[in-house]
Every structure is written in C-alpha cells, then in structure tokens.
Symmetry: C2
Subunit: 144 residues, 2 copies
Amino acid sequence: MFRTNLDNIVFFVKYIEKLRNSGLRPTKQRLRICQVLFNTQKTFHFTINDLVKKIKKQINNNISLATVYNTVRAFEKKGYLKQISINSSETYFDTNISNHHHFYDLKEEKLIDLKNSDVGPINIKKKINGKKIKSVEVLVKLED
Amino acid sequence: MFRTNLDNIVFFVKYIEKLRNSGLRPTKQRLRICQVLFNTQKTFHFTINDLVKKIKKQINNNISLATVYNTVRAFEKKGYLKQISINSSETYFDTNISNHHHFYDLKEEKLIDLKNSDVGPINIKKKINGKKIKSVEVLVKLED
DNA sequence: TGTCTAGTTTATAATGATTCTAAAAAGGTG
DNA sequence: CACCTTTTTAGAATCATTATAAACTAGACA
C-alpha cells in the first residue's frame, strides 16, 4: 500500500495516531495527503490546485477533488494547516502553523515567509469588549 | 439628472475633475458610484454586492453589475479605493485609503477599523532585492 | 451643431473555485 | 462477519468574477 522503509512506517504510525486523536479516521486518502503535506522538514504555501498537482506527481494515485477540499478544510479546522488571508482567486494554505507573517509579491503572485525575527514586535493597543485576539497577521505587499 | 442643491453641485464638479485628471471619463454611472462611495464623511468597508444594494437604495436607477465591477476595479487601480486582504468568498473594499489596519471578528464576520494610533509602529527588517514595500497590512483576528 | 473615435456600458455568456448531493466504499466496534 | 457511521467520489450546482461583443456616449474637432 505504501512504500515500506522504516521512516515511512514511523511517519504513518504517527499520523494514524494524530488523526485518530483529533477524531478523524485515518483513511488512505488522508494519510496520503499527510504524506504530501507533512513528510518533509520544509513548510510551504499552497492552493488546492497546487496540492492536487503535488499528489498526482508524488503519489501514483488519484484522490478526488472533493476529498482534497474536504481534507484540507478538516486539517485546517484541527489546526494542522493555516489559511492565509490574502486576496487571490484561490485560497492559500500554509503548512507552517506557527505565528508568522508574509510578503506577497504582487507581480509574481507569490507568498514569501517572514520569520518572526524579521518583523519587530506588534503592539495592538485597542481592545474590543468580550473579544480576544486570536491571531495577528502582517501582510507586506511588494512591488517592483 | 441629479439633485440640484449646492453641495451636490460642488461634489459633482469636484469628482468630474478628479475622474478626468486620472484619465477616467466622468460618466453618469461613475459619478453616481462616487456619490454613493464618497459623498459622506464616514469611510466604510463593502463588497460589490453591498455596493449594488446601496446604489439601488440611494439612487433610483440601475447600473449594470459589470459596470459596478469595472468601476470599482478602476477606482482601486487609481487609488480611490483599497482592496482588503481577507479570506472571504467576496472581495472587500475600503473607502478609507489611508494606511490603517483591521480587526476581523471571526464570529460576526465583520471588519472593524483600527486607527493607526491603535497599532504601534511596524518594523519590517527583511528586504527583498529589487522589490519595494507597497503596503503593510495588519489583520487582527478576534474570537469570543 | 454634427461627425468621428476611443472609451464606456450593458446584458449575457463563460469561467473557475468551491460546495453540494447522494450513492458507493471503507473504518471501526462488537 | 455484521452493523453503523464516516468518508469518498463523480458529477451537478452555486456563486463571485471576468469576458464578449454590440450599443451607446463623452469629448474633440470641423
């Protein structure tokens, strides 16, 4: 079913647990998507379309588009992925769920990570009664 | 053609000039949209859909949907409107073109302006070769 | 004032991302 | 294995937005 070297086995056992623990059944499709998204050191940004291409390329197997959408939404809800707030016709997601910011290159339509140390501390002085801050995202738009 | 009190005349003369100066012909439709967007002290956020409703309500006259889209895009390109980077099925625009930031109330799905003085200075330390910063937008997501 | 031309508006069709549907398949419990 | 629930799936439906191409209009100039 999957490649059988030790690293892969470890990876799948880990993600089977992870999915179960968050109330998601560890289906073949979800584990394959985990493999594409998380079986790497590097974090990255992607659209659903990017992900579908990556799945096709990395795994010789088709997952239906609806499932990819469902899975990404489920992972986002569980906090395994973050949606990036940017105006684009497609929705962007980020495998880097830590608090961090982005450059957006308007010409290339590409997102670039800003490390937390690349941005000075952000001080939000205003408070709204009964609401608390969930996240603070900075988007720096770049032009030529 | 339009209401004829002095304030309105002043407003239209001003916007006829403004449009001409930026290379846009001051058509009836564009001037009506200016009236809805800019003939008020208050700035506000809107979607195309909001704007169409506002036009229907304030002006007893139909402007085709395509024209509303074209006009809003044109105004944005000329800097009379700002697009707000937020993930929503509809695109949001802001009549407040000054540098400022937003709260986004996740539950109510509502944008709230943050005055510049509500946010401390933001220091972007990273530089990208050949690119310059066009804008820095902070989006503060709120939960209950 | 009429004519001309490029820019604009318009209704409608087309596009494209995303969600919905409902039937088939699969996971997990006993 | 049997059962029930969740998940997957292909395809249809939806919704915002853009494209199209024909009719119209602003502004320039005679």
